[in-house]
């Protein structure tokens, strides 16, 4: 488990992956990630905007444009070894080739602790 990009030994051997995807892609992405051995994730419903414009709502002729669109946010902690595969899987499965498909962010993860046992490091994932 030598450090790769970071080049440092003392800490970051794990990645924290944040993916913003279209809500209807959630099940597909979750299944694909299970397939490559991802054991857990946190999912939340979020709103935001990027290149995709908002949508227009009309109530009895009164138009409101909402500039925030509903998306799903996945948060996944993974070992350095698995992380590129996770990113690739999400990118491929969540893509519809249109704007608004979302983004994937990868952060260095300093530590992880399993609350039940107190294990830490990548064994806690």
């Amino acid at each position: 488990m030598a450090g790769h990009e970071t080049g440092k030994q003392e800490g970051f051997v794990m990645k924290f992956i944040i993916a913003i995807i279209k809500p209807f892609k959630l099940d597909e992405v979750r299944e694909a990630l299970s397939g490559i051995g991802v054991a857990g994730m946190t999912v939340s419903e979020v709103k935001g905007f990027g290149r995709q414009k908002g949508q227009t709502e009309i109530y009895r002729g009164a138009e409101y444009s909402t500039n925030m669109l509903p998306k799903v946010k996945l948060e996944i902690a993974a070992t350095d070894a698995v992380a590129p595969q996770v990113v690739e899987t999400i990118q491929q499965v969540a893509s519809t080739d249109s704007i608004g498909d979302g983004k994937i962010f990868v952060l260095d993860l300093a530590s992880a602790t399993r609350i039940r046992t107190g294990e830490s490091g990548d064994t806690a994932l």
Binding site: Y59, R60, G61, A62, T66
Partner: protein, 444 residues
């Protein structure tokens, strides 16, 4: 068609209202010599059912229809105002309302002589349009629900900013100087528009034009909501609005078919018309949305249902089914234009479009009734029916109702504004009337 009231009991048998239906030359006096009429249990049972159906229109129908259209912070205040106004109307109805609209003595504008229903007993009867009678208490209850729903309808224009106390006081004054006289003028024997032969089967003029115009006047006295129209104010639950619209439609069969006062063929005609005019109007509203370049919407569907129900109200027993369909289509298209185009142009804040839907579709329905009544169009008019004359009569009735409702509502609004004020404080308006006026939240 027109209601007429005959006190059939011994003590009051003499003080009868000799009222005639619009074009029938029947001699109502003939009834006086007969033994006291006894109510037909079948008709009584239907009218009791119809009465409860109108209550269903108010609570929960209208309350949910309106409530879903408001923002979530004003949900409970909307439900409470609808319910509160309806309850107040019920009490006022038995104290002086029925007497003022359908009392044993009266002139062209109002009546008197039955305060606290003192002159009514379980044996009292009210005449229907044939030689039948129904129990007067049933007739009073049925008419009571009409007063209650009309009072509640008005408050749709003023939600999200009117004080609860102001809504209650306005309701009491408005019923007295606007609703009871108009109901008397249109429906009671001796009433101004009744004697002119205006056709209003179930209350297009009395209920819908009246409520729509009064709502417009009151919302102008009240002023716009904070942030209107620049801030988005989308409905908080169109689901509940659709539930309410469905309950209104179901209840409306009591309103329209019940207005025949008997379970007969004309009630059946009113029933079929209440189906088809509404169905046509619901689809028409969505077509109008598409023609305007938008998507066919659920709120458009619900709005079309209401526009159709309103339009067919004066025509329910006065039109053939085909005439009712045409009336529903025309009324829905014009109401769509009033709500989506006219209101933004004029800039008034009729929050839930009481004028745009009830007022406008009511006017179309009331005038259109003078057309679809024609036997040439499948209506029930007699051979001596002259469409042009009837349409003129209808227009005069509509004009009288508009004028009376506008002036009376303005007087009521000024009185309330002077005595206790109309609006909640800006803080309460921004926090929402649920917490500010009632101390609770709809959703926790």
């Amino acid at each position: 068609m027109i209601r007429k009231l005959i006190c059939g009991t011994g003590a009051l048998g003499a003080s009868m209202f000799a009222a005639t239906a619009a074009f029938a030359q029947e001699a109502a006096e003939a009834v006086t010599e007969a033994a006291p009429a006894v109510a037909n249990p079948g008709n009584n049972a239907w009218m009791m059912t119809a009465t409860i159906l109108v209550l269903l229109m108010i609570l929960p129908g209208l309350a949910l229809f309106y409530g879903g259209l408001t923002r979530s912070k004003n949900m409970l205040s909307t439900l409470t105002q609808v319910g509160g106004a309806a309850c107040l109307a019920m009490l006022i109805w038995v104290i002086w309302g029925y007497s003022t609209a359908f009392g044993p003595e009266g002139n062209a504008f109002f009546s008197w002589g039955n305060l606290f229903l003192a002159a009514t007993t379980p044996d009292s009867t009210a005449a229907t349009f044939s030689d039948e009678v129904i129990s007067e208490y049933v007739f009073i209850s049925f008419q009571m629900t009409f007063a209650a729903i009309t009072a509640a309808l008005v408050l749709g224009a003023t939600v999200e900013r009117i004080k609860f106390s102001a809504a209650m006081l306005f309701t009491a004054i408005w019923l007295t100087i606007v609703y009871f006289p108009i109901a008397h003028m249109v429906w009671a024997g001796g009433g101004l528009l009744f004697e002119m032969g205006a056709l209003d089967f179930a209350g297009g003029t009395v209920v819908h034009i009246n409520a729509g115009v009064s709502a417009l006047v009151l919302c102008m006295f009240l002023g716009k909501r904070q942030g209107y129209p620049s801030e988005p104010m989308p409905p908080h639950s169109l689901t509940l609005t659709l539930v309410g619209a469905g309950l209104l439609w179901v209840g409306w069969f009591g309103f329209n078919a019940g207005s025949e006062l008997e379970a007969d063929g004309i009630a059946g005609l009113a029933m079929i018309n209440t189906f088809v005019a509404t169905a046509a109007a619901a689809l028409t509203w969505m077509v109008m949305e598409r023609l305007a370049g938008h998507k066919a919407s659920a709120l458009g569907f619900a709005s079309g249902i209401i526009a159709g129900l309103v339009a067919v109200t004066p025509a329910a027993g006065n039109s053939g089914p085909l005439g009712a369909i045409v009336l529903g289509i025309v009324a829905s298209a014009i109401a769509y234009w009033a709500v989506a185009k006219l209101k933004p142009k004029l800039g008034y804040d009729d929050a839930l479009d009481v004028f745009g839907i009830h007022g406008v579709a009511g006017i179309v329905g009331a005038i259109g009734t003078g057309i679809v009544y024609s036997p040439a169009l499948g209506g029930p008019g007699g051979d001596d029916f002259v469409m042009s004359e009837q349409v003129v009569t209808q227009i005069i009735a509509v004009a009288v109702a508009i004028g009376w409702a506008a002036v009376g509502s303005a007087i009521a609004a000024v009185i309330v504004k002077t005595l206790i004020g109309l609006r909640v404080s800006p803080e309460i308006e921004s926090d929402g009337l649920d917490i500010g006026e009632h101390g609770e939240r709809a959703y926790n």
